[in-house]
């Protein structure tokens, strides 16, 4: 299993290297070869505009990861900030934050992202915004629960008695002790984001053509399922294998660090 996972990660790494050194244009069209299957030049065949599917998958991968990286950075920053404040200080503020997080969790899955992406005009910035809006909640919940546990431990109490300020304690003691479960959670969240981003593009709310996106390619490929099933198969397999591998990596980290999740 580990070998397959390494192979998939290695595959996309090679893709990025090819992109860096050859600087191909994934929008280049060859009209004689529309929807042809895999061959020597275009490894995974060509799409309905005669574009190289492999190149478009690499570009889609890079586009997705740019978005996912920014969304993860934004949502983990705000999520952890809000969660730690809520867990550390407690009281009325904590109750308010808990209410807000349960409110956000009342929107199942990507519904909230769809709502915002639908109203805002489609584009990279709005996509990032729409995905971040719901993304911070899981970080906040986990950070809150972990902080509430850690803050009663002796070394935090000792630090408090020594007269350290709250900010000092949070940065020096709390954050390092709640780091590992958050990293594992982020790994799973990234896998979820790949699917969420692709789903949004699939219903036409993500990156717009001619920019390559996995969800958009999936949507286009379904129209040609009858003529060229390889298109849909390759795109779908790419998404699925990557998501599976990231989840596997998350499981691996989880076992390695032996994390017991105690989300409330």
């Amino acid at each position: 299993m580990k070998k397959i996972v390494l192979f998939v990660f290695f595959f996309w790494l090679i893709g990025i290297v090819i992109k860096l050194f050859s600087g191909f244009d994934s929008n280049q069209m060859v009209f004689d070869e529309i929807l042809i299957g895999p061959n020597y030049i275009s490894w995974l065949g060509r799409d309905d505009y005669g574009r190289n599917i492999f190149y478009r998958l690499i570009d889609g991968f890079l586009n997705s990861f740019e978005i996912i990286f920014i969304v993860t950075a934004i949502s983990s920053f705000f999520g952890v900030l809000i969660g730690v404040i809520s867990g550390y200080f407690g009281g009325k503020l904590d109750q308010l934050i808990r209410y807000i997080t349960t409110l956000f969790m009342a929107f199942p899955g990507i519904l909230l992202a769809i709502a915002f992406a639908a109203i805002l005009s489609p584009g990279k910035f709005n996509l990032i915004f729409a995905l971040s809006i719901g993304g911070w909640v899981s970080y906040a919940r986990l950070a809150r629960a972990q902080t509430a546990l850690v803050k009663n431990l002796d070394f935090v109490k000792a630090s408090e008695l020594m007269g350290n300020s709250h900010i000092n304690i949070i940065i020096k003691h709390i954050l390092p002790s709640i780091r590992t479960p958050l990293i594992v959670d982020a790994t799973y969240a990234i896998a979820g984001l790949i699917i969420a981003e692709a789903s949004l593009s699939f219903i036409g709310l993500g990156l717009q053509a001619p920019m390559a996106s996995w969800g958009g390619m999936m949507r286009d490929s379904v129209r040609f399922l009858l003529v060229s099933p390889h298109y849909a198969l390759f795109v779908g397999l790419s998404i699925m294998s990557l998501v599976y591998c990231i989840n596997f990596f998350g499981d691996y980290l989880n076992q390695k660090w032996n994390i017991k999740n105690n989300e409330d």
Partner: protein, 306 residues
């Protein structure tokens, strides 16, 4: 027990209120003029004024909110911008279709998930068990928008057994329901198997064996009853993913449900419908969670006082 039920009802009510406020504000907090967005570049001033008055956007925001809350309680979601038809009728039809699809998916997931999980646990570590476990892992990580085309390809294009999309024949429901259910089915298999294995080694089962009951009577009467409680929780928790999965699945298979109505309304920029769909989906999710929690308290006596 009564007071804890009251707390659950109250917090669900708060959630519903919150959902209403969020969906209401989505249109209002956006940068720029929502009317301008709705009409596009070509909208004339007269149209703008007309729609503004129609939606009541010329009134102060708290009044608008109170108004629309009052309207929604009466089941009135306003009219579609494009066709002028009341949204309520469309929503009711779409809701019916989505619930039919969701229930069909739930049915498949529970029947096959439970039996798969029980078989896997009974024959633990056998080849059959390994096959069930590894295939369920496969179905957990496969997204709806790939599973759908895959099933279309296998079952309707290559084998020709089922209609590829639409809702004309009564077999049309099979493919979307399968697509929607397989993820949940895999989770139910995993949960049932782990839970069964845990219970098989417990005192209850040892006592039942000592009483001389038959293996299958133990499985059904003792083990299965204990599996039911986590099963209900899982179903309640997963119902949300069923609803959000329905958005993709319905679009894929042209199934006239809430998800497709939502996507179509987004594409045609018919925002009142978008708002109504999001509201209904979120509310259904909260209500299912509420039912799950109440049910949980009734089924499991240990939960009654917490």
């Amino acid at each position: 027990m009564k007071s804890s039920l009251l707390i659950i009802f109250f917090s669900s009510f708060l959630q519903i209120l919150g959902i209403f406020i969020v969906t209401f504000l989505i249109l209002h907090l956006l940068p720029g003029d929502p009317i301008q967005v709705m009409l596009g570049e070509s909208g004339s001033l007269a149209d703008k004024v007309k729609i503004r008055a129609e939606l009541g956007l010329d009134q102060p925001i708290y009044k608008q909110m109170a108004n629309s809350f009052f309207q929604i309680i009466h089941g009135n979601f306003g009219n579609s911008i494009l066709t002028g038809v009341p949204i309520k009728e469309q929503i009711v039809i779409a809701m019916k279709n989505t619930y039919i699809l969701a229930l069909a998916a739930l049915f498949i997931a529970i029947i096959f998930g439970l039996s798969g999980g029980i078989i896997a646990a009974k024959y633990k570590d056998s080849l059959l068990d390994k096959m069930i476990v590894s295939s369920s892992l496969f179905f957990i990580s496969i997204p709806h928008f790939f599973l759908g085309p895959l099933l279309m390809l296998c079952l309707s294009i290559w084998l020709g057994w089922l209609p590829i999309s639409g809702m004309e024949s009564s077999f049309s429901i099979v493919l979307p329901a399968l697509t929607l259910s397989l993820g949940m089915l895999a989770i139910i298999i995993k949960m049932t198997r782990n839970c069964m294995i845990e219970i098989i080694n417990s005192d209850i089962v040892r006592t039942a064996r000592a009483k001389g009951l038959s293996e299958w009577s133990i499985t059904i009467n003792h083990i299965f009853r204990l599996v039911l409680i986590p099963l209900i929780t899982i179903i309640g928790m997963q119902f949300g993913s069923l609803l959000s999965g329905a958005i993709i699945t319905e679009t894929l298979f042209s199934w006239d449900g809430l998800g497709m109505l939502l996507v179509n309304s987004i594409q045609s920029r018919d925002y009142p419908i978008t708002q109504a769909c999001i509201f209904i989906i979120a509310i259904s999710y909260v209500l299912v969670n509420l039912i799950t929690e109440v049910f949980y308290k009734i089924v499991d006596p240990r939960m009654r006082d917490t």
